[in-house]
Each structure stands twice: as C-alpha cells, then as structure tokens.
Amino acid sequence: MPNLTIGPRVRKPLHLHDKQLKVLENIATEIRVDLIDMLVEAGSGHSAGPLGMADVFVALYFHIMIHDSKKPNWKDRDRLVLSNGHICPIRYVTMAHAGYFPKKHLNTLRKFGSILQGHPESEKLIGSETTSGPLGSGSSQAVGMAYAGLLDKSPWRVYCIMSDGELAAGQTWEAMLFAGKNKLYNCTFIIDRNNIQIDGTTEDIMPLEPLEEKFKAFNLNVIRCAGNSISDFVNATEHAHGVSEKPTVIIADTIPGYGVDYMEYDFTWHGKPPKKGEEAINALHALRTLGGKIESEHE
C-alpha cells in the first residue's frame, strides 16, 4: 500500500461572520426561487431533495470549496461528486449562480439537447464531475478520486453528497470499507438526512438508524449537523477538514422541501415538481416571504 499519510492542506478558516452568513442565506433564497421556476418550466424533476439541500450547496459553492467557475477543469479544484444525481436541479441552479454557465440554460432543464440532463452527465455539463443517477456509485467514484489525489499528493479535497435512501445500496458500503481502509481524510461524505425516499420514510422502507454507529463501525469520523443551517454545516465541514486520520461523514439533518410549507416533510414531493399555476405561485410566495415571516416585496 502506498504511503498516504501527508498532512492536510492549510486552508483559510471557514468560520462565518454574521454579514457573510446573511449574504449566503440570501443567495440560498434566490436559488430556491430559481429552482422552483426551473422545475415548473421543466414539468418534471425532483423538488423535496433539492429544496432541502439548497443551504448545503450554497455553503459549498460560495464558501467552502476552492474552485473557479471559469476554469471548471482546473486540476487543483476541489471536487464535488453528487451521488444522488436526482437532486441535480439544485446543483444546476447553484452552478449557474456561481457562474459555471449562463442562467438562461436553467430554462432548458430536461429538454432535448440541454446541458442540464434529467440526471447529471459529466460529458454534457463540464464541472458536474461525474455522471450519476443510478444510486450508490458516487461514493465509490469520490473515493477513487480521493485515493488518486493522495497518491499524487494533491492539495484538493473531494466532497460527496449522498442521499439517505441511497444508503440501502450495498455499493456504498463497499466504498466506505475502502475509504476507511485507506484513511482518505481528503474525502468528506455529506448525507442528506431528510428521512424520505420515493416510497415513504426511510425508517419505514429500510431503517438506517443507528446511522452514526454504522459509519463509525466502518472507521469513519462522523459529525451530525443541521443541514438547513449554513453556519452549522460550515462548522461541521471545518471540523472535518481538521481530521487527518479518517474520512469524515457529515450527516446533515435536512427538511425535505424546506422553504415551501406544503412540501416540507412530505415524501410525496420527492420526485415531482409543483404544477404551473396555483401550486407554483404558492411555492414561490412561501420562499419569497420566508414562510410568511416577512412581507412579500415582489411577486
């Protein structure tokens, strides 16, 4: 086995100041609004997962990751692997906001010839890193990258987002064995723990708890955080960066459909978009007023 024990790269502290946090939160709201518009236009696609993960994506693209949207193939970029490819709408909107491609492409989601495929394809959308959709293989690709990265003493890190329902796929655990064995500390797994999947709640369909203990038993460092709190997620990531003996898994507890009151916690919104008309208007209203907490400025 190669010697993979080089020290972690020194990064800027990630701790957020109030002002920075406010900026990120505003981006997250804008992104959720664009997400709904995009899904309504596409007429199909997933709503609950993308809404729930908006804060994590904003934190990664606008604060945590070292990357350059103008140079998506820059060799020293941090890599974000999206294993649960079906939540790609949130990645697409975030990438558009980060400058990877013009926002007008958001109107092409799932249309013939689009760079924004129903499930992401790395050959079509440069910067999406991997092709995914069939669940369970993203973690393996991420650890493959991380292994090669350590072998070459590369400075970049790999982040891999997975869903909780996806953890029923055995391949995930093959990847965890590999990650633990090779102490891939440059790899951080982020679990979207929203407790829902297509057919119902994860604990009804194939119970995952005690989830932390499962990962610990695979020799991973485990952190649990509030996935809809940007500051909490950033802190968890900072913690993960500080662990150089093990890969880290961040279990981000998120609310599916977060920000749109009638979707929250409801598994039936896993795989469909709001319909044009009332549903869409209500969703956008909920997002713009932060669930009625503030008055709508424009509709």
Binding site: G136, A146, A175
Partner: protein
C-alpha cells in the same frame, strides 16, 4: 485480388504464425491471462499513470505481476466489483489509467450498471480485464463460466471489445488498451490454450486478419477457439478438399466489416466460432453486418442459449460443440446451404453436441460412481 489469388489456399505466411502450428503435440500451451500479466507490466513501465485494481483475485487474474513491479500503483479492492468499477472511474477522472481485474463472471458480470454509468456514459479511461471468461474455467461450473460478456459489453456505446486468441495476442491487446483513450473490455480465459501467433503476427484494433486462405467458405473466429477453426480448416482440406478461409476477428468492437464483407462476397458462406453466447456475440456482429450488406448463409459455433456445467475444460467445450469436429460440421452444412442443397432443421453441430453431452454425462458419472470408496458403498 487477381484471378489466381482468388484460388489461394493454405496458411497465410505473412501472418508469421507459430511453427508446427497444426501439430497439437508440439505447440506450446499457455493461458491467455498470462499475456495480461505481462502486458500490463509492460504498459506500466511505459506509463506511470497506469494502475491496476483487483477484487481479491490477484494471482489468478495475473495482476500479481503488476503488483510485484509497481506496489504503489496496485490497489487491492477486496470482493467489491461494483465499487471497483466506480472507484476506477473516479481515478480516471484525475488522469489515471486504471485496469480493473476480476473474473468476467463478476466484472462485467456483477458490475455492468456501474460500468455503464461510471465508465461508458462518462467515457472514462478505464480498462476492464475479464479473466476466466468462457466455459473453459470448467470445474467451477455455470456460475463462474462467463458466456454473456461479449454481448453485454459490445452493446455499450463508447466501449471497445477485444477477444484475443492466445497469450501473445493478449499481451498485445493489453498494451494496446493502455494506449487507447476511453473504455475497453479485454477478455481472457483461465485454461492453457495453444500459442499459435508470434510477436511478428500483425495485430491492430479494428482489423481482422486472414490466417488461412480459402475460397469455399469462411470461418470467422475470436478467442482461443480460433485454433480449433484452423484445425477444422485443415481437416476439411485434407479429407474433403474444402478450402476454408479462416479469419481472426479479435476486435469485436470496433469491428472490421470490410474484411468480413470481402470474405462473404468471395466465399459466399460464413461460419462463426466463439466461446461465448452466439446471441449477441461475434455471431451477432457478423449476422448484423452481413444482413445489412451481403446476406450469405451463416452457421454459428458457440454457446447455444444454455448454461454450462462442471467438468474438465475440454469436456465442457466438447459437450457444447466448441471443438474442431463441430466447426467442420458447421462448415459442411453452410456449404450445402450455399449450394442450395437440403439441410436438416436442427444443425448437425448442435444435435450431435446435444447427444454427446447426454452420453458424456452418463459415462463420466457412472465411472465416477463406480470408483467411489467402499465406505460410500462404492467398489474401491
């Protein structure tokens, strides 16, 4: 080709085939997988990006040689073929050139979807080395005899598929695969098989080679069964004066349609031979190509929609009609069809393999039961 050349027959000297090629006693026997071990080491010397991943079968896939030469670039995966395919894809996305090695029954047998999603659609620079393919893994039985792999892999866009005929050609294929950009499937066998090509024998991706000239019919073969095809052609010539052209079609994809179409036009009848399911395998490629261009009668030697069973490699091959006598039968049948003569409904090479199989099961097991020790109520 001049008129005189049209009547050309016999072995093609330009192919630099092994001496005493038709002498089954004198020819050297080596498993094709050995060529993989040698090839991947040579490729590794030329390119430091090459890595080998192996799913707990380091020695038998011959990945061990690479591990011994380049321990840092060898990755032990354990029994995780699905993860192995995806991990290799991840590595390739950082510029590495990974070879993933296991038995074909598990890779691509078990991880086909991961290969599709992470390697083929992504056009990842990953090479899939499937060892112990075909039925010549013998005693291990049907679960380990991979017969669907050629069909499975060739239907994948972006994927290249090479089925080398002996250990030397396997070595060449491995070195070639390392230089190619994009995914590639290499198929090897466990059992020793004749080494009948030489270092000088031409080998090019997407190019079939004529190993024997002939004008009555053409036998197209891929893999070690090509040797059986040469034996069959020799027998046909000596006993019946039938001159069969024999083509090595190692490159299933990209496929050399030109050489095949020329053969169909010039000989008017084709026999395919492979140690894989005929459905979708080499037979599939040949039938598809010819039906679109030059329809001529075709007979197919290969596995006829059935699974194998335990037995010595030779027994299993014979019971499935994969040896030279069956190829000769198929050749005679296709000739009859070419000449418009009547033929049986079920091809002779299939019906006689079927009856041989029943007979073999009976005699081999009877003998074995008889030889059981007395404590098991046998006679020994």
């Amino acid at each position: 080709m001049t008129k005189k050349n049209k009547k050309q027959k016999g072995l093609n000297r330009n192919m630099h085939l092994a001496r005493n090629i038709l002498n089954t006693e004198k020819i050297k026997y080596t498993p094709t997988r050995n060529g993989y071990g040698e090839g991947v080491v040579e490729a590794g010397k030329n390119n430091s990006k090459i890595m080998v991943l192996c799913a707990d079968l380091t020695e038998s896939t011959r990945s061990l040689e690479f591990k011994n030469h380049f321990p840092d670039r060898f990755v032990q995966m354990g029994v995780s073929e699905q993860s192995m395919a995806s991990i290799a894809a991840g590595m390739s996305l950082t510029g590495k050139v990974p070879f993933i090695s296991s038995y074909a029954a598990f890779s691509p047998g078990r991880n086909w979807e991961q290969i599709k999603t992470c390697i083929a659609i992504q056009n990842s620079n990953v090479k899939i080395a499937g060892a112990h393919a075909g039925v010549s893994v013998g005693p291990d039985g049907a679960t380990h005899q991979m017969i669907e792999d050629v069909a499975l892999m060739r239907v994948m866009p972006n994927m290249k598929v090479i089925v080398p005929a002996d250990s030397i050609e396997t070595k060449k294929s491995t070195i070639l695969a390392a230089k190619l950009k994009g995914p590639c499937y290499l198929r090897f066998a466990r059992e020793k098989s004749p080494v009948f090509t030489t270092e000088k024998t031409p080998f090019k991706l997407g190019k079939s080679e004529i190993y024997r000239y002939g004008y009555d019919l053409t036998i197209v073969a891929s893999g070690p069964i090509l040797y059986e095809a040469l034996l069959a052609a020799n027998k046909l010539s000596k006993e019946f004066g039938i001159e069969a052209r024999v083509i090595n079609s190692h490159s299933i994809k990209p496929f050399d349609a030109k050489t095949l179409i020329a053969a169909a036009k010039e000989t008017g009848a084709i026999v395919t031979a492979e140690e894989a399911q005929v459905a979708g395998g080499l037979a599939g490629v040949v039938a598809e190509t010819l039906s679109l261009t030059t329809p001529v009668p075709i007979e197919r030697i290969g596995i006829q929609d059935r699974y194998g069973e335990s037995g010595t490699p030779r027994e299993v091959q014979e019971s499935m009609g994969l040896t030279s006598p069956f190829i000769a039968m198929a050749a005679q049948r296709v000739l009859k069809r070419k000449l418009g003569q009547r033929v049986t409904v079920i091809p002779e090479h299939i019906s006689s393999a079927d009856s041989l199989r029943i007979e073999m099961r009976r005699t081999i097991i009877e003998k074995s039961l008889k030889q059981a020790p007395k404590k098991w109520k046998g006679t020994k």
